[in-house]
Amino acid sequence: MTIAHDDVRVDERSTSVSTMSMAAALNLALADAIQSDPEVVVFGEDVGALGGVFRITDGLTARFGEERCFDTPLAESGIVGTAVGMAMNGMRPVVELQFDAFALPAFEQIVSHVAKLGNRTRGVVRMPLVIRIPFGGGIGGVEHHCDSSEAYYAHTPGLTVLSPSTPQDAYSMLRAAIASPDPVVFLEPKKLYWTKGEVDTSVMAEVGTARIARDGTDVTLLAYGASVPLALEAAEVAASEGRSVQVVDIRSLSPFDDATVTAAVRATGRAVVIAEAPGYASVASEIQARVFERCFEYLEAPVRRVTGFDTPFAPPKLEHWYLPDVDRVLDAIDSLHWEDECREDES
């Protein structure tokens, strides 16, 4: 099972474990949330009859009616702006924005209101809303369909930014996001929508915590979203080469779980951060900087990062050259000043 240490088994219901895709887990989380809280409403573009372009909202309108899951006019600022008003008036909106790049029209509403209304009103008005965005590449999508925009949200005070990498976390974290009194940007790694895993629906994730995805003693890989399976794959290869690689699934991009990450890297003394987004001024830079600062005395080598290039996302045919891959991760690991090698790469 891939349940994180900090997550809690909610007693209200009996444990029910089954195997499903991440898409199915998200769908189930939405259905369970709608059913258990009358204030939860799901809306966005094509989430009704169609069930969303990725079918994450499949069947919700049929099952719960137009009042609980419905299509809006095609306007993202409108979707988020009305969600703000609904949240002010007691609802718990869960909105879907179709792709990362199509969340951008809503950016003013997200930054100037979603993130700030609670603070502005001294907590009188809270923003218990969730903005779901399928993010990242790896599916051969054309321009505007493969970006990773987490840095924009993570940099914005007031927003919780989450991204699951397993069906279990998809379920548990989405339930936690919907239950949160604070606004959550929920980034769904679209490349992983169809990967399967066990889901225990009695588990609610603890927002703000990372998850140790693999134990290891030589080096720590810090990853989130679709980079987690990549890190695990690299760890497997490295293991065959005799290196014990730990993998931490950051999963809460903001707030950040310093306790888990700092302890992990202090123990191994080496770290590589992996993310798809362009590296410059990114969540990966933040993680790298934090780890550096907090683990300085423990580091055997500089913390490295393997990220997307500081270029626009690649067209489908070049995607595999753009995205972090196992070789780049292994190269980064190799550069971490191993005792059996001479240090000479700091020029």
């Binding site: 809006t72 409108g78 100037s112 609670g118 603070n119 007031g158 919780t160 949160s180 950040f256």
Partner: protein, 375 residues
């Protein structure tokens, strides 16, 4: 022609002309004398609040004040057109409407004083925080109304914005969502001729802003924004329609911003004094005073009573704003999110240390000007 009911008339609705004379309108009735007296009282108070706030800016007690001097008929009309359970979504320029809805002047001024981003309990007063990013609040109003409608409540929402704000994409999206979802919102545009320095002619080429309504399938109305009787009648119709599940309305009020955008603005750079002067004759207070005197409803005693009431409000404002409020620096962290994260706690801790050192230094008679100065 079809759908003609969605189009505004060519001329704005007026019930009292600039000289105070009654204008008979086939569609809109003149409000009763009591209503007009209450409105007049509101105008007197609103004008006093505007002028007091401007004075407080000059005295350095307020950081900035976007005055609605000249627009009081819109401000009071909006406030009076609503029932207690209705909600107002105002902008930075709508402090008078906010106060007319029951918010204490000192609380309404918290934003402009610089103490916090908003100073009143929005739930207690049914008034959303005054919005600064233009047109964004219109969408909030739509969402709010949607939730009320879903719950079967008969709440109506009045959302305010200026002429300039109608150019923003959010205006469009709010109008469209409201019409498609058929929610009980009245969009009330105070067209005061300017967006800071930019005149209406640079904002739109349309016959009127109200003409935009038909493009969303909702009725558009134009009203003389300096005639509170007309404002009450037209907003009243729209509020009634909304409450009766008739959907949203766009109402455009023709008024004028008599002062600069804010005290920080210099309007001599972009408009002629003669233009401003011409609007003095259309003042919303003068015409209502004339009208109420003509019909014998406004006595000297009432006039004195209203003036005294307004003076009391002004005095309370002065008192509240001349007192320095003690603002806790830790408020910076207190409300960011409801859930507290170690990440923020760590930074909060640092600030707390600075605050404590500064306080200790101050009480230790070695007060320093800079925060964290106890270094």
């Amino acid at each position: 022609m079809e759908h003609a009911d969605l189009l505004p008339r060519d001329a704005a609705v007026q019930l009292i002309d600039a000289d105070g004379a009654t204008v008979v309108d086939e569609q809109y009735a003149m409000p009763g004398a009591d209503t007009l007296l209450a409105a007049y009282r509101g105008l007197v108070e609103g004008r006093r609040i505007n002028d007091q706030a401007s004075a407080l800016v000059r005295q350095g007690r307020l950081a900035v004040y976007p005055s609605s001097h000249g627009q009081e008929a819109c401000q009071i009309g909006a406030a009076l057109a609503m029932s207690d359970d209705d909600w107002l979504f105002p902008t930075y320029r709508d402090s008078v409407a906010v106060i007319a809805r029951g918010v204490a002047p000192a609380e309404a001024m918290v934003l402009l004083k610089g103490d916090w981003h908003s100073g009143y309990d929005v739930r207690e007063h049914h008034v959303a925080p005054q919005a600064t990013p233009l047109a964004t609040q219109l969408l909030h109003a739509v969402g709010f109304a949607y939730a009320a409608k879903q719950r079967g409540e008969d709440t109506v929402v009045i959302a305010l914005c200026g002429d300039g704000a109608t150019s923003e994409g959010d205006f469009h999206e709010a109008m469209n969502f409201a019409a498609v979802f058929h929610v009980p919102v009245v969009f009330f545009v105070q067209n005061n001729g300017f967006a800071i320095s930019v005149p209406l002619s640079r904002q739109t080429a349309a016959p009127s802003l109200a003409h935009k309504a038909i493009g969303y399938g909702m009725p558009g109305r134009r009203v003389d924004g300096n005639d509170v009787a007309a404002v009450l009648a037209v907003l009243g119709e729209a509020v009634d329609r909304a409450r009766a599940a008739g959907g949203p309305t766009l109402v455009e009020a023709h008024t004028y911003r008599m002062q600069a955008h804010t005290n920080a603005d210099d309007d001599t750079r972009y408009r002629e004094r003669a233009e401003v002067q011409a609007w003095v004759a259309r003042d919303p207070l003068a015409r209502l005073r004339a009208h109420l005197s003509d019909i014998g409803a406004l006595t000297a005693e009432l006039e004195a009573e209203y003036a005294a009431g307004a003076e009391r409000i002004a005095a309370a404002m002065r008192e509240a704003l001349n007192t320095d409020t003690d603002i806790d620096p830790e408020d910076l962290f207190r409300f960011v999110t409801e859930t507290r994260s170690p990440q923020l706690e760590e930074q909060w801790q640092m600030l707390r240390g600075e605050v404590e050192r500064t306080r200790a230094a101050e009480t230790g008679a070695t007060a320093q000007a800079t925060p964290g100065g106890a270094r």
